[in-house]
């Protein structure tokens, strides 16, 4: 198996952040998705939405300036941008189910070639925590997933059919892994951008589902 260098978490977050456009309302999930907020402009050009009812939040506060009542959906301290607002959970999810959130960026365990996502229950755990991810899968206009390409023991996470319990069916449109950027199309996965130094054949060998390669395959760049 190849020991080539994969994309760093920071580069994955930076690249995915470029898919977020001015005017979008964006929800960032717990874990790696939260890193994306380090690479977006905090000038109000896009609106960050959190399940716990913070709308229009900004970057992590400086040390010593944390407000105990100002946290994101992961419980991490945040700041509020000018024009930010607070709503209840019920209203935050009205925004999600009602189609007012443009993009949800979620972590993943597996994504299938149909765009199914599994991310809430990790075997052999008997219990998992779906949080707001199930709601985001049906409500957000687009769902992007950021995850490592393979499991710790080298098994592919881009699969033909998810074997883990689903979070949402046919909901994912884009996947960022440490080997590249993948579009979910009606024909399955399409490799759009690849980690520097890797070949499509190498990525394909670590992908369970069939993988098409775009006509203009480029490397993921910082």
């Amino acid at each position: 198996m190849s020991e080539k260098e994969r994309l760093s978490r920071e580069l994955m977050a930076l690249r995915l952040a470029r898919e977020l456009k001015p005017g979008m309302v964006v929800n960032l999930g717990i874990g790696m998705p939260t890193l994306v907020s380090d690479y977006i402009p905090h000038d109000g050009s896009l609106v960050l939405h959190s399940e716990n009812g913070v709308i229009g939040f900004g970057p992590t506060p400086r040390e010593g300036e944390e407000d105990p009542n100002l946290v994101n959906a992961g419980g991490g301290f945040i700041t509020l941008l000018p024009g930010g607002a607070f709503v209840s959970h019920a209203d935050a999810f009205a925004m999600i189910r009602g189609g007012h959130v443009d993009v949800a960026v979620l972590g993943g365990l597996q994504v299938s070639e149909q765009g199914d996502l599994a991310n809430w229950l990790v075997p052999p755990r008997a219990l998992g925590s779906p949080g707001g991810a199930v709601d985001l899968c049906v409500g957000a206009k687009q769902v992007f997933v950021v995850m490592e390409h393979t499991t710790r023991d080298g098994k592919p996470r881009l699969v033909s059919r998810c074997t883990y319990s689903l979070t949402g069916a046919r909901c994912v449109s884009l996947v960022m892994t440490d080997l590249g950027l993948f579009q979910v199309t009606p024909q399955g996965f399409l490799l759009r951008e690849i980690a520097p130094g890797w070949t499509a054949a190498e990525v394909r060998s670590l992908t369970e589902a069939p993988l098409a390669v775009g006509p203009e395959l480029v490397e993921v760049r910082a």
Binding site: V54, P68, V71, F86, S129, D135
Partner: protein, 230 residues
Amino acid sequence: MISLKPVYSSADQAVADIFEGATIMVAGFARPGVPQELVKALIRKGVGKLTVIANAAHGTREDLADAGRLVAAGLVRKVITSFPAPTRASVEGYPEKLYRQGKLEVETVPQGTLSERIRAGGIGLGGFWVRTGVGTVFEEGKEKRLFNGQEHILERPLRADFALLRARVADALGNLVYDKAQRNFNPTMAMAAAVTIVEVDEVVEPGGLDSESIATPGIFIDRIVKAQSG
């Protein structure tokens, strides 16, 4: 005559009539909006066989007296929650431990469906049709129906005997103002219980709050407790 709500100086007094087997809603998300003094009082009281409805219930934060600490204390028979497990999969939460021992029933609910089921309970609906969970384990055992060509599942309301809430300030009528992300489940749970008890930093006279800023009107509130700490 205006209807003033009782203001308790002791959380223990405010929860004194919570009975064995009661269904309790506990508000809060992470730390903001968690009624920690009421939860601590309930743990001191030691009343058991509770059904607890709360966003998170894994109980692994010992520095946070949230619904999960009721589970950790062994006072809970059933929990209805969207976070029965901590987000780090390597850590086992109290619900999983007790579930494996056959001592706890766990109903795992997507977060938006949880808040909407509480809202439905509070506003007198028999249930609601929603796409959340279609094609997943969360649809199991539920009625399905097509609306606009899309599958929906029927979700049923939740109500409780008691709701434990946290706000920044109340007036003596029970009107509540929250501080930032403290709001979360509080206004919704306030509508959905037979008895609602709120813990606040400060109590002011009627008229002492900006009416435009009141997020929970006093008609939903039964008891007020002045918190001893922030």
